[in-house]
Amino acid sequence: MYLLYNHLVPGIDPLSLENVLLVGAGLLTGIPALGSGRCDIAAKSPITGAIGDSNIGGFFAPEMRMAGFDHLVITGKAEKPSYLWIHDGEIEILDASHLWGKDTFETQTLIRSDHGDEEIKSLVIGQAGENLVRFANVRTGMKNSAGRTGMGCVMGSKNLKAIAARGTLDVEFTHPDQLLTYCKEMIDMVMKNRYSRAASKWGTLIIYSTTNTTGLIRTRNFQLNQLEQGWDIEPEEMDKYTIGMSGCYGCPVSCRHRYTLKEGSFAPIFAEGPEYTSLGAFGTMVDCKKMETILVANHLVNKYGIDTLETGGLIAWAMELYEKGIITEKMTDGLRLEWGNEEVVFELIRKISQREGFGSVLADGFKNAIAKIGNESEYYAIKVKGMSNLHSDERPTPSLALGIATSTRGADHLRSRPAIDLYGLPEDFLEEIYGGSMSSDYRSYKGKSRMVWWQELLYAVTDSLGTCKFQTVFLAVHAPKWEEYSKLIYLVSGMQYSIPQLMDIGERIYTIERMFNIREGFSRKDDALPERYFEEATPIGLPRVKGLKIDREKFEKMLDEYYTLHGWDNNGVPTNKILQKLGIEREPSQII
C-alpha cells in the first residue's frame, strides 16, 4: 500500500500506462502453517477509482519467493501481448502472442509446456482481462482468484497475459527449528476449532446453512433475505459431485472442493470450488435453486477470468431492472432476464467476458452501466463505492453493514467482517477480544464500530504477512491473532513486535489506504450504504431478523465512533496526530 501510494500520480485513468501493478508475497510466505501461500495484487481499481487490492491463495507467492523475488512493481505497458517469466533470480519479458485469446486454464498449461516444467506456477488473465472487462480477475491453478477490484483488467491494459514463476532457492528463517515446532502448534490450534474441521469437508459453503436459515442472504437481488426452498444448494449437496478436497500452500484446512460434472450441456467439467460467494452469486441472488447451475457458472467465470461476485451482483441487478421494466429485451439482445433462468446466467457470463452486446454494458461495472441505463436504475444497485456487495444482507447486522460501508476497496466482506458477531458470544468475552464494551446481540449498534475497526487492523496485518484470513479471527474465535503473529514474526525474522506495535502497523496500512482514497476524491459521503438498506425492511427470515432495516441516525453515529477509533476526523480524514504517531506524516515522500 505504501508502494502504491508512492508510485501513483493521483487522478490517472486506471487503464492508462501510468497505473502501477504490485504483486507481493509476505513475511510469513513459505512457513508450514496458516495457508502461507497468499499473494497480494494491488493497483488503482478500474471499478471504483479507489484503491484496488486483491488477495489470492494457491501456490504462486511461495514459488515467486523461491524464484528470488518478494515484490514486483510493474509500470507502463508492453507493446504486444507479453508475459513475465521469473526463475531463480532471473526475470524476463517473453512474447505471449500464442497465449492471447486463451482461457485461464489453457494459458497455464501452455506456459508449462513452453518451458517443459510442470512445477511452474502462474498468475494469469483470461479473455475477460484481455477484453478489459472492468472486473476481470487474476487467476492461478484451478481454483484461486484475485477476484475483486479488477486487477485482471489492469493486467490486460498492460498487455500482460501472465506472470509465471519457478523457484528452487531457499527461503531462510532466523529460528528454523523453533519455527517448525511452533507451526505445528498453529496447525493444531486452527484444526481444533469446529469451523476449520467443517470447512475441511464442505469449504466455505457451510456458512450458507446458518445464514440462509436465519435470513441473512439477499435473494432476487435485494427483494428477499432468504432463499426459500433452497435446500438443494445446502453444502451437503456437494457430496454428489466432489471427488475430494484441495488445499492451498501450507494449509491444513483444505477448503476447496475438487468436483466433476458428468452431465449437462457443459459437461464434462472438472473444476474446483465453489466458494460461498459463488453460491450466492449464481444461486440466491439470481434465484437459481440448483447446485449444478452454480457449479457450471463457477467454472465459466473461472475459465474466462471474471470476478464471480461482481458478475452475480450485476446479473441479479439486471434481472430486477428487467422485472421492473427499466430495461427490456430491446436492450438485452432479446434475452429474457427472468429469475432462476440458468441459461440466461451462462449466456450473460459469456457475453460479459467477450464484451458482446448487453454483456458489454455490464462489463463496464455499476458506475458506467448506470450512466447508460439511466439514474432510475441506481436505487436497485447493491454497491458501495461502485463495487458490488456479496449476497449477504446486512440489514439485521449493523456491524457487518458498517464494514461494507467503510471498506477502502468498495463493498466488501474481506476488509473487516466481524463474523463472530453472529454467534452471540458473552459480552465480557467480546470485551476481552476487542478491548472495549459491546453488545452481544448482532442486531445492536452498541460498540460495533470497535469490532469493525479491530478487524480491519487484523486483516491488514494478515494480508501483509501473506497468510490466510480463514486462519485468524474470522469465522472462528480461538484462532491465531496478534500474539501468535508476533511470535511467528520473531521466529522467521528475529524482529520483535509487541501487540500494540502490530496493531499500529495495521493502522498504518489502513490509514495509507484511506489517504490514497482521499487523494482520489473519496470522502465520508462514500462510506455509505445503498439507500435500500435504510428504506426497505427485511421481509422474511427468523422472527428476530424480520422487519429490520438500518437506522440512519444510529449508522451515522457508528461511523463517527469508527473514525475516532482510527484517529480520523469527522470527515474521515486522518488527523496530523495519528499520522505523526504512525510516522507517515510526510507521505507520499517519494512519488516517482
Binding site: 523461491m66 531462510e172 528454523p176 475430494g244 488445499g247 483444505s254 472438472f270 474446483e272
Partner: protein, 162 residues
C-alpha cells in the same frame, strides 16, 4: 514391530505441508525442491500423488551402490546413506524406479530417513494421506476399504434379488 510409511493418495489435498516441513527439518530452510517427499500433481484432473522412498524390501539403491554406502537401519527400517562412504555417483538416483532418491541443486543426495523413526511429514499431514503404522494395521484398513466397496455391490445385488 517396525512401522511402514503408508501413502493414501485419495486423501491427499495437495497442500504441500509435508514438503515444507521436510525441507525445514532436514535442510533448515523452506524449499520443497529440497524435500525428500514431493506431491506430484495433475492439477487439471485433480490428482495429487505424494511420492516418497518406499524403503523397499529388496532395495535397488542398495544393490546398485558401488560403495556399499546404503544399508537398512534395523531400528526404524529406513534405508540410510552413509555419508562417509557415499561418493555421489548418483546410481541410486538413476535406478530407483519410484524417484525415491533425489538430488538437489547443490548436488546433494536426498533420501527419506523416516526422521529416525518419527516421520515429520506424517505429523504435518492433516488429511491423513500419510500414515506411519504397523503392516498388519495397513492390511486391515485396506481390506476394510475394499470390503466397503464390495458391500455396496452386495447391497445392490440384494435389492435386485428382492
Amino acid at each position: 514391530m517396525q512401522k511402514i510409511l503408508f501413502v493414501d493418495p485419495e486423501k491427499c489435498t495437495g497442500c504441500r505441508l509435508c514438503e515444507i516441513a521436510c525441507s525445514l527439518h532436514h535442510e533448515k530452510v523452506s524449499n520443497p525442491s529440497r524435500a525428500r517427499i514431493q506431491i506430484v500433481k495433475w492439477e487439471n484432473a485433480g490428482l495429487f500423488i505424494p511420492m516418497i522412498c518406499q524403503q523397499c524390501e529388496t532395495p535397488i539403491c542398495e544393490i546398485v551402490c558401488p560403495m556399499g554406502a546404503i544399508s537398512r537401519d534395523e531400528k526404524t527400517g529406513a534405508m540410510l546413506i552413509n555419508k562417509e562412504l557415499c561418493v555421489g555417483c548418483k546410481l541410486c538416483v538413476m535406478f530407483c524406479p519410484l524417484g525415491g532418491v533425489g538430488i538437489d541443486k547443490n548436488r546433494k543426495i536426498l533420501k527419506c530417513d523416516l526422521c529416525d523413526g518419527d516421520p515429520l511429514c506424517v505429523k504435518y499431514c492433516i488429511p491423513g494421506a500419510l500414515q506411519f503404522m504397523d503392516a498388519n494395521v495397513i492390511n486391515i484398513k485396506k481390506r476394510r476399504i475394499a470390503a466397503e466397496k464390495l458391500s455396496e455391490l452386495m447391497k445392490k445385488l440384494l435389492e435386485v434379488s428382492l
